[in-house]
C-alpha cells in the first residue's frame, strides 16, 4: 500500500521570497555618510600654563566670524570667496614675505633640502551667534586651501593626487605643507548670544 509521495508545491516560495525582498528593499539605506573630519584639541590640564603666546604672531592666520556671518581675516574684512586664496598664500608663503609665516630650510624625504614655512597655524574663531552653515563654509574653504596645495605638490612631484599616495609620500607632503587648523577656545567675539 505504498503511497506515492506527493511533491511539495513550491510555487509560492517565490512569492514569500519576494515579500522578504521587498521588505529589505524598503528598509535599506544606501546613503553613505560624508562630512568634514576634524580633531578637537584635548582639554587643557588644570595646572598647565597657558603657552599660547609661544607661537609667533606672523605664524598665525586668524579668521574671525561674527554673528552676522561676516569674516575678519588677519584684521581685515574679507569675502568668503577670497578666503581660499588668502589661506593658500599664507600656508605656502611663496614670496617669503615678512608678514607671512617664517620659512626654514628643512630636509624632507623625496624632496631633499627645501625652503618651507615652519608650522603655520590657522586659527578659526566664531561667535555664538554665527550660523552653522557659514562656519562649515569657512571650514571647507580652509581645508580646501590645504588640500589644494598638497594636491598640486603631489601632482607635480608624483603625478597623483594626495589621497592616492602611500603613507611615506603623504607624510613627506605633510611635512612640506604642515598647516594646522585649530579650533580656538571659545570666546565671545561680537557679543552675540
Amino acid at each position: 500500500m505504498a503511497r506515492k509521495l506527493q511533491p511539495i508545491n513550491a510555487g509560492s516560495m517565490a512569492d514569500i521570497a519576494f515579500l522578504l525582498l521587498i521588505f529589505f528593499l524598503v528598509t535599506t539605506t544606501m546613503d553613505v555618510d560624508t562630512g568634514l573630519m576634524r580633531m578637537l584639541p584635548p582639554m587643557p590640564e588644570k595646572n598647565q600654563k597657558k603657552n599660547q603666546d609661544k607661537i609667533k604672531e606672523r605664524n598665525v592666520f586668524v579668521v574671525l566670524i561674527n554673528k552676522n556671518n561676516e569674516l575678519l581675516v588677519q584684521g581685515k574684512r574679507m569675502d568668503i570667496h577670497q578666503l581660499r586664496q588668502a589661506a593658500k598664500e599664507f600656508i605656502a608663503n611663496p614670496d617669503n614675505k615678512d608678514n607671512l609665516p617664517e620659512k626654514v630650510w628643512k630636509d624632507i624625504p623625496y624632496f631633499g633640502h627645501v625652503f618651507v614655512t615652519r608650522n603655520p597655524v590657522i586659527s578659526l574663531q566664531n561667535d555664538r551667534g554665527t550660523s552653522y552653515g557659514t562656519y562649515i563654509k569657512v571650514q571647507n574653504e580652509l581645508i580646501a586651501a590645504k588640500d589644494e596645495l598638497r594636491n598640486e605638490l603631489a601632482q607635480s612631484k608624483f603625478g597623483m593626487n594626495y589621497d592616492d599616495l602611500d603613507k611615506d609620500r603623504q607624510n613627506a607632503i605633510k611635512k612640506y605643507y604642515p598647516a594646522a587648523i585649530s579650533e580656538a577656545e571659545p570666546k565671545n567675539v561680537g557679543g552675540g548670544k
Binding site: 529589505f24 560624508t34 566664531n126
Partner: protein
C-alpha cells in the same frame, strides 16, 4: 510559413517556462539586500538639512560612529519642545549635559581596542547658531571624544 525561429510550427505546443529556479534567484537577491542593509537606527525628531561642502570625505567604519543630531524639533514636537534648535541623542531630546554620559555609553559598547577610535558625527541643521555647537564641542572635549565629523553633503561646487 516556416519561420527560422520556430522550425516546426504547428507540430509543437508552447511549453511552460520552468520556474523552479525563480525562488533561487529571488533568494540570491534577498541575501544581497539582507547583507547590505543598514536599518534606520533612529527616528529623527528634529528637522535637519546638513550643509554642503566640497571637501567632504566618506565616513569609514560605521560601527565606530555615534551620532548627535541638532536642529529644530519637528512640528508635532514643537508644542512641547519649542522651536529653538534642540539636541537629539538616540531617540530622545537631550541637553548638553547628557552628552558625556552618551559618549561613555557609546564607548562601552565598543571593543577595548576600538575605544579611542570612536568618531562622533555631528548632524546639524545649517541654520543652527554656533552657540549650541560650541557647547557640544566643549562637552565632547571633556568626554575626550576628539574625533569629530561635521556631517555634510559632498558637492562639486558651492553655490
Amino acid at each position: 510559413m516556416r519561420s527560422k525561429f520556430r522550425p516546426n510550427e504547428g507540430e509543437r505546443e508552447v511549453g511552460q517556462i520552468n520556474t523552479a529556479s525563480l525562488p533561487d534567484i529571488i533568494f540570491m537577491l534577498l541575501f544581497f539586500f539582507m547583507v547590505t542593509t543598514v536599518m534606520r537606527e533612529v527616528d529623527l525628531k528634529v528637522n535637519i538639512r546638513v550643509p554642503e561642502a566640497t571637501e567632504a570625505k566618506k565616513l569609514e567604519k560605521k560601527s565606530l560612529v555615534s551620532y548627535i543630531y541638532v536642529g529644530k524639533p519637528l512640528p508635532r514636537f514643537q508644542a512641547k519642545f519649542g522651536t529653538e534648535p534642540r539636541i537629539q541623542l538616540n531617540d530622545q531630546f537631550r541637553t548638553v549635559n547628557d552628552i558625556e554620559d552618551f559618549i561613555a555609553q557609546a564607548r562601552d559598547q565598543l571593543n577595548e581596542a576600538d575605544r579611542n577610535k570612536l568618531t562622533v558625527s555631528l548632524k546639524v541643521d545649517e541654520n543652527t547658531k554656533m552657540g549650541v555647537i560650541t557647547d557640544i564641542k566643549q562637552a565632547l572635549r571633556r568626554a575626550n571624544a576628539l574625533k569629530i565629523n561635521y556631517s555634510s553633503i559632498k558637492t562639486k561646487k558651492l553655490k
